[in-house]
Symmetry: C2
């Protein structure tokens, strides 16, 4: 059932299938790793859904984070008339994406937490949980063989900013009803204890605001509505006005305010243009770029490339996030650059200017004890996290053989009495590069890797095959191989070696393009390796005139 999100962080997607119906839970994206050269984003392979398109009833969305909704535009392109169901903020965020992708009419359906919606033989109940975005829900899916409980991403925040802890009563009631199988968020399954309340961040912000003498700049995820609220609250308390920089952040502020998730007191916010008008001690700026993303607000500020804000000594910058694995280098590069500009930087969880949005071990145990599932499938995490989460489940009484540490694409089958892994759908990555979806495969990446490693060299020669002689060339072109000031000399040497090597070919050899090509390739590769110990991609081109 889990097509993505098992064995990695990202591209979360689960397919729930009964005899007659298919509903999909979430359809996320993943950001490419460092080996996926040139790839923009990574989504799931939809083959399993495609083969069951006639049974497809709905796409249910637990919450509006990229790793849960980022694949939806691609999903919609293929399964256009499928209802997309979620809470108001999730739908608003998906709509914004749809506009970017210029999708036509989409069948969006907004639900409120607590609501039940039926799709064929499956009834979905949306249940409020806490997470680092508003409108996050777990799903109780009533199927003919029993309840499947999908936690989405969650934490149990006893003192949340919006005053609404997770709906314990409803979760407990579902647990009492009897749950066949639970799928649960494993992101923090290796962390002991309890994730801190979002409210702790407010206290940390208060201390930072009390200390700061100049401007305060806070970078966070655009979708982290509770975090935005806390910055607004502290700004009001300390007599500062707040400006939101960046389109994605402004979008979220707009939707979230309209939907009542965000309360901005009258006169508390200002436009970016007003930044020049106020003294530094009356200014708070929110921006994106907490992951050191190249084109984001904070990264631009850190290299003095932002059109609205120039970091100066006296500014306090709060990076209200922790680096996602793989982003450490870029995050710390940004922080170092901010220090160099004279800013005071607060970052990481040390100063409590950030808390996680995911449940730690004690909360995962509580969820297991509330839901008491017969079968358990840890999802949303790397393999090591799934293994840990499986061990936690066993500690709460789930039979060890009823825990399925699944990998992407594993097909699990459950009846009233038993559950088993019965097959494997293709659960691999689909790489999106430009407008191409899935057309960047292993071969293209292998080529890009080779090109990135040592560059490329071409030799082109025109041959009159009849007379068996060279009529033009050999010409040599290189990219990413030689140091420019020296390259003219080297290229001339290489041409001379190639000419000599062509002279050595027999008349018969000269009439065969394959032979000439092999000859050129060999000569060139050896000449470059002996000079540089490098092995660029070598391409011989022979034109017959």
């Amino acid at each position: 059932m889990p097509l993505g999100g098992c064995g990695e962080i990202g591209r979360n997607m689960t397919v729930i299938e009964t005899n007659d119906d298919v509903v999909v839970v979430d359809c996320g994206l993943m950001f490419p790793d460092e080996e996926m050269y040139g790839v923009d984003i990574v989504i799931n392979d939809f083959s399993y859904v495609r083969e069951r398109a006639d049974k497809l009833r709905a796409l249910l969305v637990t919450h509006g984070h990229e790793d849960h909704i980022g694949g939806i535009p691609y999903f919609v392109k293929e399964f256009a008339r499928t209802p997309i169901v979620g809470t108001a903020l999730s739908i608003a965020l998906i709509k914004a994406k749809s506009r970017e992708h210029k999708l036509g009419d989409v069948d969006f359906r907004t639900v409120v937490p607590g609501e039940r919606v039926r799709f064929g033989s499956v009834e979905a109940e949306f249940i409020h949980v806490n997470h680092s975005v508003a409108g996050a829900c777990a799903l109780a899916l009533r199927t003919p063989v029993g309840i499947v409980f999908h936690t989405g991403d969650f934490k149990f925040d006893q003192t949340p900013i919006d005053g609404r802890p997770a709906d314990f009563a409803r979760i407990a009631r579902v647990g009492e009803e009897g749950v066949l199988c639970m799928l649960s968020d494993s992101t923090n399954a290796e962390r002991p204890g309890h994730t801190l309340s979002e409210r702790m961040v407010g206290e940390a912000f208060a201390a930072i605001f009390a200390r700061a003498k100049g401007r305060i700049i806070v970078a966070s995820f655009a979708s982290n509505v509770p975090r935005i609220q806390q910055v607004i609250d502290q700004a009001e308390r300390f007599g500062r006005k707040i400006a939101f920089l960046g389109r994605s952040l402004q979008n979220v502020v707009h939707f979230a305010t309209e939907l009542g998730h965000l309360r901005i007191p009258p006169g508390a916010a200002m436009k970016a243009e007003q930044l020049e008008e106020l003294p530094p001690e009356q200014i708070v700026v929110m921006t994106t770029g907490s992951q050191g993303e190249p084109m984001s607000g904070l990264t631009r500020m850190s290299v003095r490339d932002h059109n609205r804000l120039r970091i100066v000594s006296g500014d306090t910058v709060v990076v209200s996030a922790t680096p996602i694995p793989g982003n450490e280098k870029s995050v710390y590069r940004t922080i170092n650059n901010l220090y160099k500009l004279g800013a005071t930087v607060v970052h990481g969880t040390d100063g409590r200017s950030h808390v996680s949005g995911h449940a730690s071990q004690e909360e995962l145990l509580l969820m297991l004890n509330l839901v008491r599932p017969e079968f358990f499938v840890p999802i949303h995490g790397e393999y090591r996290m799934l293994v840990q989460h499986g061990k936690l489940a066993v500690r709460t009484g789930v039979e060890a053989e009823n825990v399925f540490v699944a990998e992407d694409g594993d097909v699990l089958e459950f009846t009233h009495e038993y559950g088993d892994k019965v097959g494997k759908a293709y659960g691999g990555n689909v790489l999106v590069d430009g407008s191409g979806i899935g057309d960047v495969g292993e071969a293209v990446l292998r080529d890009r890797r080779a090109l990135a490693g040592d560059g490329i060299v071409l030799v082109v020669v025109a041959i009159d095959a009849e007379e068996a002689r060279v009529t033009a060339g050999p010409d040599v072109v290189a990219r990413g191989v030689f140091y420019l000031p020296e390259s003219d000399g080297v290229l001339e040497e290489l041409r001379a070696e190639l000419r000599a090597s062509l002279d050595a070919i027999s008349v018969e050899g000269m009439r065969d393009v394959g032979t000439v090509k092999e000859h050129l390739r060999d000569t060139l590769a050896k000449a470059i390796y002996s000079r540089t110990k490098r092995r660029p991609v070598v391409i011989p081109l022979v034109m017959e005139v």
Copy 2:
């Protein structure tokens, strides 16, 4: 004075210069970051030393880690007769490198901790400190204007494995003598408290060994002699034999045993060939790869590609290291793969199977209070760490204006009375790729980046300029752009578009190679972008026949 290691982790190197003499402290390498495509290693620019080659008296080595000795082979190639001075294990490790690089005679000089060596107007005193390799020293450099104290990399381990805490008495005595300037290790300057003793790892290992029922595999840095000793000790205690896999590890074990840094009881070690002969519960294996390095022992084991050892269910794998920033993804990939093979994995500092080799804040403060320098230069760290370390120095009484948060290449001048930043040497990266040192510059990297991003497309055409007509081509070759199964069709379409575009060129245009090239480049770039939204490198080649 600091040429490298200020503003990054790695390629540590400091130049100490008096009127008549230059001594260099350390000469390390740095591993390339993800943007330095194809680069093998990064070393320092030696220009500053080169310009003072006649004054160069010695290269002093604090300890034998790659970030302190990795650049030495390149240094020796240029400054062949400079004495290289260090403790026995450091010199042994450098000698092993010299052999790999086939360097000729090098003037190695071995010192023991406590020894003083004079080079012109500079006298260097080697002082024992604790670190994650044996033979680590701080240096007290007596110059005509006062003492420069260089800590090297250090921690204060009150219960070290070799029974020898840092030489507090000698450090304090130097401090009493009066220190003009201290340069100190900033790696852990952001960490409060005290770094745990190496002995804690032994206790963690004991618990792991007591629990493990099958084989135990420990991955660590090859040079971490104290760590190796602890694995040997626990192996002996629990009746297991130990095998060392990998040449670098075997080298270190060999040197360290010869030099008395490592005690292997008779019969405790075994050859890799004997792994098959013993039952699993009597086996310990040490290997490298704690950073997920592609060709290392542990990484190969994790993908079942190791020729000596095949991970099976029941094996316990201990990753006795934390990921260096930038390596997180590969480390966790390795750990996930080990879990999938059924191994129990212990990793990170949580289980205390690893402690840092660098001083935390309390130890940095202690060092400052022992040495009581007039001027302070934090080294060995990213900028944010240097800033923190500077703040610590001020807390111990160093004047704020006497703290120099320097960047690579900053030239600091000190007299008896004052210190100042007086200039800037080139402190940039020198990239080593194959046999080329420094010949991979920004232009080459930019090319490789472009190639990695979207691949490359070439169009080649032969033209008879006199008759102003195409005699062969256009041919199109692409790498890293198109999905293979579709590429034949696409390339045929592109050729047709290019033919049509060539037909549209006037006779005059046809006679000008530049015009034809521009035409081909434009047509091709647009045709590809409209199909794929990708922007590969486009190279038009026109041959005149």
